[in-house]
Amino acid sequence: MRITWPHMGSLEFVLGSVFEELGLDYVLPPPNSQRTLELGARHGPEFACFPLKTTLGNFIEALEAGADVLIMVAGRGPCRFGYYAETQRRILAEAGYDFEMVPLEFEPSRLPLTVKRLNRLKQGRSWASLYRAIKFALHKAHLIDRLEQQALHQRWQDREKGATTGALKRCYRMVWEAGTYADLARVEEEAFALLRSVPRVEREEIKIGIVGEFYLVLEPYFNLNVEEQLGDLGAYVERNIYLTDWLRPSGERPVLGHHEHGSERLAAPYLSHRVGGEGIFSVGDTILFQRLGFDGVVQLMPFTCMPETIAKSILPQVSKDLGIPVLSLVIDELTGMAGVATRLEAFADLARFRRRARADGIELAPQPAF
């Protein structure tokens, strides 16, 4: 039984840590690449969501690397995500692969089934040890999230381009190697110290928020490294989603420090009902970012994503009312790096210009989304 799961940002460190703890066999899919995307797009259904295709690509590459048990989270919608596992199972089975798909569903009526599936996955390890491993992994996830956040906040001041990113990579390793809570506490101090020690320069500050679909916000390879690009363009960046929000879906948002309900309340005048995925948060958090004094918001949307399409139809109105520029990036297998880079650059310039104007007390016309 060689277990695998798709990539999603730093998920590999978290789940990997669980399996290491328990001493179970697993393989990671090869890192995301153009090939992943091509495989996914070739086998995936036409106009299915982008993440369905990329994770399908991960699965295919992992199967080639010897995996035979695929883990995927499943659910009941209203979005498509809940049906990914089943769809991918069908596609892979038809393509002739030999594997077992284990969808993990966490809604109350399906819990008994999920317990059974987990029981198979843990291969005789005790429930207590599984619980301990997961708890420890969640601690790691929380730490990784806070480190990523620190990187987002400081990258714009880097004296050398890429220094923060490099330091962050070392931090990932350090967290990965930590084996006990004591280790983790030590790593926490060291990692933050390492990040903070990156040499800085004084720059003119602009603040840009990132909102959008979960997977795309978390997966740097497929969002074309927007965070890093924005940081390099001189923007203090914050995003509205961290891995922990997804691993512990209580609505708490421990990294950002506010509850989802706050975001929902802000969105209410524009979007008064949940629409699946992160649609309502893309609207609510745009407003939140505006309140916090951000100069612009970038929305990340996988092509054909339903909740984000709704958000995208509503954001121009928000942008007009509140005067915060919003850049919606629609991403699919045809999106080119160059085009996105130019648009981000123009956007950062615009944000900077508006910030200066505001500082000088110049009235600005509201900026329509572009």
Binding site: R80, Y83, V275, I310, K312
Partner: protein, 329 residues
């Protein structure tokens, strides 16, 4: 008060219900009528490019009404069946309509959600009624009338009238008249019954001498039975209908071929399509043609594909008949 009902999306299911309810409450109901080229064009230019075709069409209907009414009626249907949802686009529809018209026209949007129980829905309908009248009896009477008309409308659909015919209560011709070849045209109501975006597919099939079977005409029992066989249940209300109908058609050979109508880029359909095509293949079901419609679909190419499909079905049918004869001899 003049209330506008945009004639897109779920209008093709609940239009009758909404209209008669509002009418019975004393509102002056204005409908945007059938989709036209100019409605489609204005919708396409206003809606997000990534939206699905029916949502774009819906925007067009909204804009067509904008100047003519005091309020728009766009209910939010969250769930119409236990343990299911509608599509996210429908959940956000009133808000999208609001963004489309700005502050010019208020949008009336009661929330219907069968997961929150009957009481919630009763209250939603009741407070909708209160906008127009303060007489509770009148609201309830309006509800009863509207519901009765709605049932009648749905029943007519199951009897083989198309949307237009079912609204009027009569049709020159039934979709299914017992001709030799029968094709299942399956898809969401608005993908099948909108004569403009489907380029009068149903009518054309009729004049080609082909019987049409829509999802409404497939017995509900059979659809439900098919859905129960699936390893993972489908959690979209209307998608259940579509998938159930396709699977039932192919398992029980209710038809000689299936045309699956999809709008580009429909989220739920992109998933259900994989399931239906695969199950149909595994069952050794009937030939299936999946048509993906968008605002650029050209009439020429569309017709060619339909004709080729119908020809193929005829040939198959004849071959099968000959084989049968050969066996009999």
């Amino acid at each position: 008060m003049k209330v506008g009902i945009p004639g897109g999306l779920l209008y093709y299911r609940y239009g009758r219900l909404w209209n008669s309810f509002l009418h019975a409450l004393g509102a002056e109901v204005v409908e945007s009528g059938e989709t036209t080229r100019s409605i489609l064009n204005s919708g396409v230019s206003k809606a997000e490019n990534e939206s699905c075709l029916p949502v774009k069409v819906f925007y067009g209907h909204v804009l067509a009404l904008k100047e003519k009414v005091d309020a728009l009626f766009v209910p939010r249907l969250v769930s119409v069946k236990r343990r299911t949802h509608t599509c996210p686009k429908m959940l956000g529809l009133p808000d999208m309509a609001k963004a489309a018209v700005g502050d010019a026209v208020p949008v009336i949007s009661p929330t219907i959600d069968f997961q929150s129980g009957l009481w919630h829905n009763y209250r939603a309908v009741y407070s909708l009624g209160r906008i127009f009248t303060s007489d509770p009896r009148r609201i309830i009477a309006a509800g009863v009338t509207a519901w009765r008309e709605h049932r009648l409308y749905l029943e007519r659909l199951t009897l083989g009238l198309d949307h237009r015919g079912a609204l009027r209560g009569e049709a020159d011709r039934l979709l299914c008249e017992g001709r030799d070849l029968r094709i299942g045209v399956i898809g969401h109501h608005y993908n099948v019954y909108d004569t403009f975006t489907t380029m009068s597919l149903l009518e054309r099939l009729g004049s080609m001498g082909v019987d049409v079977m829509t999802a409404d005409m497939v017995p509900e029992k059979l659809r439900e039975r098919e859905l129960k066989r699936l390893p993972k249940d489908i959690y979209w209300s209307y998608e259940q209908e579509v998938a159930g109908a396709i699977l039932a058609c192919s398992r029980y050979r209710l038809v000689d071929g299936i045309i699956f109508m999809i709008s580009f880029p429909c989220g739920p359909d992109s998933i259900v399509r994989v399931l239906c095509e695969q199950e149909n293949r595994l069952m050794g079901g009937v030939p299936m043609l999946t048509l993906v419609m968008d605002e650029h679909t050209g009439e020429g190419g569309f017709l060619t594909r339909i004709e080729a499909f119908v020809d193929m079905l005829w040939r198959r049918k004849r071959r099968e008949a000959e084989e049968l004869e050969a066996v009999a001899v």
